[in-house]
Amino acid sequence: MAVQTTRKLTMAKAIAEAIAQEMERDPRVFVMGEDIGVYGGIFSATDGLLEKFGPERVIDTPISETGFIGAALGAAAEGMRPIAEIMFIDFAGVCLDQIYNHIAKNTYFSAGNVNVPLVLMAAAGGGYNDAGQHSQCLWGLFAHLPGLKVVVPSTPYDAKGLMISAIRDNNPVLYIFHKGLMGLGWMTLIKDTTGPVPEEPYTIPLGKADVKREGTDVTVVSVAMGVYHALEAARELEKEGIQVEVLDLRTLVPLDREAIINSVKKTHRLLVVDEDYLSYGMTGEVAATVAEHALEYLDAPIKRLAVPDVPIPFSRPLEQFVLPDAPKIVAAVKELLNS
């Protein structure tokens, strides 16, 4: 994927820019959520929008997720294109009904007569010790529920293009960003906090995975922070002559099964990495896809690395123990190659 720019942005700025450009282009687009106005969004995804577009299109809401997410659906049904922020994806439990029984299903119930063009945006992920109700990823949960597209970007470039696609999509899109990738000054979980982002609007198709690094020895499939860790691990492993292919799914729904299968056909080994919980989630789905469609290409059992089915603990050594990171990926890849 060739990026034609030298301008570098954080993911937060890339997202805010995408939203601003779409709001300029399309008067139906507006933003609502808790602290998205003056505050600019707790993770700065809506920074600067209030100043540009005023309180009529950048609406701070009460702490009433069922209320305003349900309202977003109503507004979308009547021709608007809302972007509604759920501050932390962890909080979706208070409004899940509106999301999966209504937003995700009204199009189907109406055989396409009702469109639900809205974006739900939410922050995910841990690594900064915010404990079990503020550090979850949960994208596997949403990807299990039909009717929602699920976007999980790993770079500022992808973040902008995927956000523009999400806003222009006539279907509901859940857009989950990882807090640690946003390039926030106060949360420095990664080393490279910016990336090249073209100024003009552009789209990235929902449902296309991206090979973030080519390799021949093993495929590592992941999303969001997992991609970042996988790339770090790949650089480490390269020193030992191991060529890791890093496949960034970018969207969990639609899932680019072909890209997964093609990569495994090339490398014959698969590690799936996820910061979401291990069981009944993304790692299982990716592994199953390969076990169904590329089994005969596998030279070793599939491996999975994800949060081992525990709530995210607060204490740093505990949290670090359960989160995937580059050293754990290095170790897993080596095991894969020795099996």
Binding site: F30, E56, R57, T61, P62, S64, E65, T66, G67, F68, I69, G70, A71, A72, L73, G74, A75, A76, A77, E78, G79, M80, P82, V94, D97, Q98, N101, H102, K105, N106, T107, Y108, F109, S110, A111, G112, N113, V114, N115, P146, G147, K149, N170, N171
Partner: protein
Amino acid sequence: MNVPKSTLVQMYRDMVTIRVYEETMAQVYLEGKQPVFNIAAGPVPGEMHLAAGQEPVAVGVCAHLRKDDAVVGTHRPHHFAIAKGVDLKKMTAEIFGKVTGLGRGKGGHMHLFDPEVHFSCSGIVGACIPQAAGMALAFKMRKEPRVAVAFFGEGAANQGAFHEGLNLAALWKLPVVFVVEDNGYAISVPKHKSTAIATNADRAAAYGIPGVYVGENDALAVYEAAGEAIARARRGEGPTLIEVKTYRYFGHFQGDPEVYRPKDEVARLREDDPIQKLKNHMLQSGLFTEAEIAGLEAEAKQRVEEAFAFARASAYPDPSEALMHVFVD
């Protein structure tokens, strides 16, 4: 109160249409389900929630609505749908699961979507409340003089969605009217066992909006209360909460053993029937002859018959359509 003749016509015709529709559905629903009731059998399988007896709230409110005003209903949606002007043939076909239905058979009785007249509903109790607020938000943002109405049962008024939706609507002064249909029961649970106060209309105080209680199951009384509320919303003065006392003649769903209410309750309720009441009023007003009213009744019956005939005659969707419409392009 001075109700225009055309409005009386509309309300009466819709009430009769609703009643005939529900009574017809009650019969049709039983096809294939006798002698042993099997919910999965017959031309109309699945749950079936009928609204006979609850006509006044639907017609009294919808008489004030325009085609482009929005209505969001509940699991018991037929009366609202009919009063809002949903295409009766397509609606019935949907309830039969036919390809000519509003949703090509995908939604069924609890999921009727007719964007032509801005009608939708949901099987989840209370979910309609914030949704209607959001529709009103869209109208307000675009400065359109349109109104949204959420209808729901007294049981729904104990859901969190009620509180959140009303607070939002009041806070943002949205053009929306919230209408509680108090039919006394949420399935088997009587209101006094679910609701800490006697009248949900009093909950309007928690949002600083008008709360109106209509204590009789009467179309004209509802019409009057709703008129002011909808006008207020259209003037941009914000939401109103209306609660209407009403009665459900059938069980919660068809097949409900109704062990929770006295055996003679419905018979007693039927003695004070709201359709008869409106008819008496129309005759007494001197605006109508018996024949005219009979004409309206005949018209209603015919529409219902045609709708059911259409539904029966329609084809089922091809099974593979099940995979379509999860997403649009």
